[in-house]
């Protein structure tokens, strides 16, 4: 139990003591990050196999015509919107998970969301034919939800659950599902072929309908997450202290788990499992905002899409005319940023 409290306590300290973070500073940061996001969005519409000048992008957006540039820009809108949704969902889900489990290693997939989605996709393509599974959101989503439900029952049961039990329950379910996925994919080559492309995660070539399918989940998840930010601050002090402060620990944890699941399951179902975003973005953001969740979550909401869309744009450029999938680039782009953020961290005493 003392595992994570030490780490979060340190986050809490580095958040408040060494640098006094004033309201105006944080607000200015938010403005800057918003500008950066706007820039990434425009780049995502403009850059690709056929580059389009920025003024023309603007024209295509405000006064739609039916020229060639219009078609190109339109074709890039779905993946841009997807990147926006997925980036925001994963980053917020990651911050939420790290707060809930009081574990700096908290990854949105920790409660088995990705493993459940993968198991579901693999199982359906094994038994109902390859191809049917990878395209449908409604295959990945139920798997993710079932996996999290099992983790929660195992980890918390009727009680409020301790972070460690939940984390271990997540490890258990992930291990078993990963074994199932390996067993199926390694014995059925056709399934493996579908799976290896699904497992990378890409924004390209998705049906625009996917956006409408996952949008409700993302919105509910985000609202829930932002509403919980105050309670999460209390939870960082430990269960007992949080309860003394009037926070309903069990309910916060349940709602938090629900929000993470909605967000992460929607993102995974839409574009496949994109790792690292949920883990890295909150840490990078924390080095700017400190550990106050009321700032951390909105920052993550905006910073997540910057990483995902930025990686996507880069993926279109570096091996032109081909593309590299976004799931591969995010790690290469995000890791150096994470390293810089870690080196900024105050040394533990």
């Amino acid at each position: 139990m003392n595992l994570a409290t030490a780490a979060t306590a340190r986050h809490a300290l580095s958040g408040s003591t060494p640098v006094k973070r004033s309201l105006s500073r944080r607000a200015a940061g938010l403005g800057a990050i918003l500008l950066l996001l706007g820039l990434t969005l425009i780049l995502s519409l403009a850059v690709g196999n056929k580059n389009i000048a920025l003024p023309e992008v603007w024209t295509a957006l405000v006064s739609p015509g039916d020229g060639y540039t219009q078609t190109v820009v339109n074709s890039r809108i779905p993946r841009t919107v997807l990147g926006l949704l997925v980036g925001a969902s994963l980053a917020v889900a990651g911050a939420l998970m790290q707060g809930l489990t009081r574990n700096p290693l908290g990854d949105p997939g920790l409660f088995g969301v990705n493993a459940g989605a993968a198991a579901s996709v693999v199982t359906v393509s094994a038994f109902f034919g390859v191809g049917a599974a990878a395209t449908s959101v409604w295959v990945a989503l139920p798997g993710a939800f079932v996996a999290v439900a099992v983790v929660y029952l195992l980890g918390a049961g009727a009680g409020r659950g301790s972070p460690i039990r939940l984390v271990l329950a997540g490890v258990v379910v992930t291990a078993v599902l990963a074994a199932w996925v390996s067993a199926l994919t390694l014995s059925l080559p056709g399934v493996f072929d579908t799976y290896r492309y699904w497992a990378v995660g890409t924004l390209a070539g998705r049906n625009p309908q996917v956006i409408m399918d996952v949008l409700p989940f993302v919105l509910v998840g985000l609202v829930l997450a932002l509403a919980l930010s105050g309670s999460l601050n209390a939870l960082a002090l430990g269960d007992d202290l949080a309860q003394t402060l009037g926070v309903k620990v069990g309910r916060t944890r349940l709602l938090g788990a629900l929000a993470t699941t909605l967000l992460c399951a929607a993102a995974t179902a839409a574009v496949g499992p994109i790792g690292f975003v949920g883990l890295a973005v909150p840490h990078v953001v924390r080095s700017v905002t400190g550990s106050d969740h009321r700032w951390l979550l909105p920052y993550c909401l905006l910073a997540g899409p910057i990483l995902v869309l930025g990686a996507d744009v880069l993926g279109r450029v570096i091996v032109r005319p081909a593309e590299l999938m976004v799931g591969i680039i995010t790690a290469f782009v995000g890791a150096p940023i994470l390293l810089l953020a870690v080196r900024r961290m105050k040394a533990p005493q």
Partner: protein
């Protein structure tokens, strides 16, 4: 981290004995740990005998000892000498090495998710194996590639933290970055190459004990015999470090050095295991947790974790060899399944008792 303070209440005092050897050596011995350890050893021996004896090729239990000492008949000698013997001997040592690596790492990082895998050791090994085994073939053999990848990943973590391995929280975060990059590279390789190559690679990445030789056995046992004593020494000091650095320093445990030594031993053992059996997941993660729950001990039980790891890997290997499924699955698939299910079972039992 995972201390269960109520379990070591003074009332249980009589069950903890002190074993003295001369003036300088003394060990505190918990009765329950000794019993659990004994049972685990017996289980490993039984599983080992089954591994050699079962199936059409099996050596009859009566001939087992004679075969091991080189006096069996021809078939038996081949089965023990080249097919099943090395495999079993490698499994015992690799499982033990991973168990120890996991328990030390989890204690140092105070995190039940901590294992050398988390900071990119397995991912680095996988990337090395993918690079030298599939992309640039012919430069290095795949296991050596894995070793190079794992070492490179650890070197990267060491230098990127700016403070070496002395700060666990930094090490974990940096390690995640290194791990993510390595895994992204592996995914890139998997979607770039043809289906056949990708399947073979995925099989290797799940970890395998197939066709191990006595050289593999010598490598892993050598590493285990050299590093395990350090693990035992450092684990006693780690218990003090867990109380907090200042108290530990006052008691002479020198927290910084202890932590560094523990991490180095852990990484050394895990690297040795990875280079011999490939990146087998979940043993380093689950073995210490299972061992802790079996002994109900507060501290890092190096011996019990080692035995649990060995048992997990041997059992998984036995099931792989004797499974009725036509496709022989890599042993890593089964360790994940066994370890996961059993840990879940333990968690559920503790939940019913209202324990953490």
């Amino acid at each position: 981290m995972l201390r269960q303070a109520p379990c070591v209440a003074p009332a249980t005092g009589p069950r903890i004995h002190t074993l003295r050897l001369g003036q300088w050596l003394s060990f505190r011995v918990r009765t329950r740990s000794v019993v659990v350890g004994g049972i685990l050893v017996a289980a490993v021996v039984v599983i080992g005998m089954l591994t050699i004896s079962l199936g059409a090729l099996g050596v009859a239990p009566n001939d087992l000892l004679r075969t091991i000492f080189g006096q069996g008949n021809g078939t038996d000698r081949i089965v023990w000498g080249t097919i099943r013997g090395p495999r079993l001997v490698v499994a015992v040592a690799a499982g033990a090495a991973l168990g120890i690596a996991g328990t030390l790492f989890q204690t140092v990082t105070r995190n039940p998710l901590g294992s050398p895998d988390v900071i990119g050791l397995s991912a680095g090994a996988a990337a090395g194996a993918a690079a030298f085994g599939v992309l640039w073939t012919g430069i290095l053999p795949q296991p050596v590639g894995a070793l190079v990848g794992a070492s490179a990943a650890m070197a990267l973590v060491y230098f990127a933290t700016g403070r070496g391995f002395s700060s666990p929280s930094r090490m974990l975060l940096v390690g995640i970055g290194v791990s993510a990059v390595s895994l992204a590279f592996v995914e890139f390789v998997i979607i770039r190459v043809g289906r056949e190559e990708a399947t073979v690679l995925a099989g290797y990445l799940a970890g395998t004990l197939a066709s191990r030789s006595w050289e593999h056995a010598a490598t892993i046992w050598g590493a285990l015999l050299v590093l395990a004593p350090f693990a035992l020494i450092v684990s006693r000091r780690l218990q003090l470090v867990e109380m907090g650095d200042e108290q530990a320093d006052t008691l002479g445990a020198r927290s910084g050095r202890t932590r560094l030594l523990a991490v180095l031993v852990s990484i050394g053992l895990a690297t040795a295991a990875v280079s011999v059996v490939g990146p087998i997941g979940f043993i380093a993660l689950t073995a210490p947790q299972i061992g802790r729950r079996l002994t109900r001990a507060p501290g890092p039980g190096v011996i019990v974790s080692a035995l649990t790891g060995a048992l997990l890997l041997c059992l998984a290997d036995l099931l792989t060899q004797q499974s009725p499924v036509p496709v022989q699955l890599p042993v890593g698939v089964l360790t994940a399944l066994l370890g996961g299910v059993y840990l879940g079972f333990l968690l559920f039992g503790q939940y019913k008792k209202g324990n953490i």
